[in-house]
C-alpha cells in the first residue's frame, strides 16, 4: 500500500516526511497536480459496478486502490505546468484527479473539503470558541463606525488579513500589525477588515497536532521586546522554539477542534499572556513544521510519516483521520 503525497517539487518540508517513509520502506508516490496532464498522468475506469484507477508520475505507477493515505500538503494548481494551460483545463484536471481520489478508501491528511473550510479564519474563530478555546475579542467589518466603536471598547488593537494571504499585485507582505490609538478607520469601508484585541504576550506557542498526538513548542518573548512587535513570523527575536507541556484542557480543546473540523493535521498558533492563558489565534491546516522540528528536535516529520503509513481497514470512501480526544 502506497502513500500519495500531493505537493510541489520545491517543498523541502515534505522531503522530511518522504525521507522518513523511505527509511521505513513504505512506498511513496509524490505528485504535483500542476504537472497533470504531462509529467503526471491518470486513468480511471468505472465498469461492471467497480472502479479501477491509476496514477503515474516520475516513472512510478500506482493503483488508486493501493493507496493507504493521501497527504494534501502544498499541491500546485492542476494543469498549470502543462504545455497549454487554461482555466478550463485546470478545472477538468482538478475534477478528474480529486474526484477519483475522493472515491478511494485512502485516509486523507487533510480531506480537501475539510481543508477548504478550515482555511477560513472567521470559521476558525467561531469553531475555536465552540471548542472552549479562549479567543481574543475580534471584529471583522466593513463598517467604519463599527470599527471605531470596537476601538473604543478595546483600545489596543491589531489588524491582520482576513484570509491570511498576502496581496500579489504588486507583491506585498501584510504582517499582523498594531494600530495606533488615533487611527482613522474610514478605509475599513473598502474591504473586510479584521481587528483583534492585542494580547500582551509573554510567549508564542505553536501546537502541531498530528492525529491524536500534540507536539507543542513555545518561543519566549524577550522582556525588552517592543509591544508593536506582534507577529512572531517577522519578529527580531532569535529566541529558539522549545518543547512545552500542554495543559490538559487545551489538549482536549485542540483535539475537539480537529475532530469537529474533520482534520488529521493542524498547526495551532496561540499567544500566552502574563496570567498564563493561551489565546487562540488560528489553526493552519497545512502549517509549516520544519522550523519547529529544527529548534525543538520534536519528531514531527516522523509522526506525520507514521500517521500516513498506518494501515487501517477499509471503511468506505473519503475517510478523514480519526482523532482520539486526549483524556
Amino acid at each position: 500500500m502506497t502513500v500519495l503525497i500531493l505537493t510541489r517539487e520545491q517543498d523541502v518540508t515534505a522531503d522530511l516526511v518522504v525521507a522518513q517513509l523511505n527509511r521505513t520502506g513504505v512506498p511513496v508516490v509524490r505528485v504535483d497536480p500542476a504537472d497533470l496532464p504531462g509529467q503526471v498522468a491518470l486513468s480511471g475506469e468505472y465498469v461492471h459496478g467497480s472502479f479501477r484507477g491509476h496514477l503515474s508520475a516520475g516513472g512510478r505507477l500506482v493503483s488508486m486502490s493501493g493507496l493507504r493515505s493521501v497527504w494534501l500538503r502544498r499541491p500546485g494548481v492542476p494543469a498549470t505546468r502543462t504545455a497549454e494551460p487554461s482555466a478550463w483545463l485546470t478545472e477538468e484536471s482538478s475534477q478528474a484527479l480529486y474526484g477519483m481520489l475522493r472515491g478511494t478508501g485512502a485516509r486523507w491528511m487533510n480531506d480537501p473539503d475539510a481543508a477548504r473550510r478550515a482555511r477560513h479564519k472567521p470559521w476558525q474563530l467561531r469553531h475555536a470558541q465552540a471548542c472552549g478555546l479562549p479567543v481574543p475579542a475580534t471584529l471583522i467589518t466593513t463598517f467604519p463606525q463599527v470599527a471605531r466603536d470596537f476601538a473604543e471598547r478595546f483600545p489596543d488593537l491589531v489588524v491582520k488579513p482576513v484570509s491570511g494571504t498576502h496581496p500579489q499585485e504588486p507583491p506585498r507582505t501584510v504582517p499582523t500589525s498594531r494600530i495606533a490609538p488615533d487611527t482613522d478607520f474610514a478605509a475599513v469601508a473598502f474591504g473586510p477588515t479584521l481587528l483583534q484585541r492585542r494580547i500582551a504576550k509573554t510567549a508564542d506557542l505553536r501546537l502541531t497536532v498530528v492525529g491524536d498526538r500534540v507536539l507543542a513548542a513555545r518561543k519566549a518573548v524577550p522582556s525588552d521586546a517592543h509591544p508593536d512587535e506582534v507577529d512572531v513570523r517577522y519578529a527580531a527575536s532569535t529566541a529558539p522554539w522549545q518543547p512545552v507541556d500542554v495543559p490538559a484542557r487545551t489538549a482536549t480543546a485542540v483535539h475537539s477542534y480537529l475532530r469537529g473540523a474533520e482534520l488529521a493535521y493542524g498547526a495551532f498558533d496561540f499567544v500566552e499572556d502574563a496570567d498564563g492563558i493561551w489565546w487562540f489565534l488560528e489553526c493552519n491546516q497545512s502549517g509549516q513544521f520544519g522550523f519547529v522540528e529544527m529548534d525543538t528536535g520534536q519528531p514531527i516529520a516522523r509522526t506525520i510519516a507514521d500517521w500516513l503509513a498506518r494501515e487501517e481497514p477499509e471503511a468506505g470512501p473519503r475517510r478523514t483521520g480519526r482523532i482520539r480526544a486526549t483524556p
Binding site: 518522504v18 525521507a19 507583491p171
Partner: protein
Amino acid sequence: MRLFVLNYARDTEQLEFSAPYTYDSGLQLNVLADGRIAAHDQGLMRELGATTSTAGSKTHFDD
C-alpha cells in the same frame, strides 16, 4: 481606495535565489550537488528559511 489593512503592508523581500539543490524525481527528494538530502542540512534550511512559517506565503494560505 486603499484597503485599511494595506496601510500596514510592507514591501516583500526579494526571495529570488538560486536554491543550491534540485529535485530528483527518482528519489522524490531535493538533493544537494553532493547527493545529500537538502532538507537534512539544517544550516542551509535556516539560511534559506525554506521551512519557516513564512515559506510559501506567496502561494498558500497556511503558514
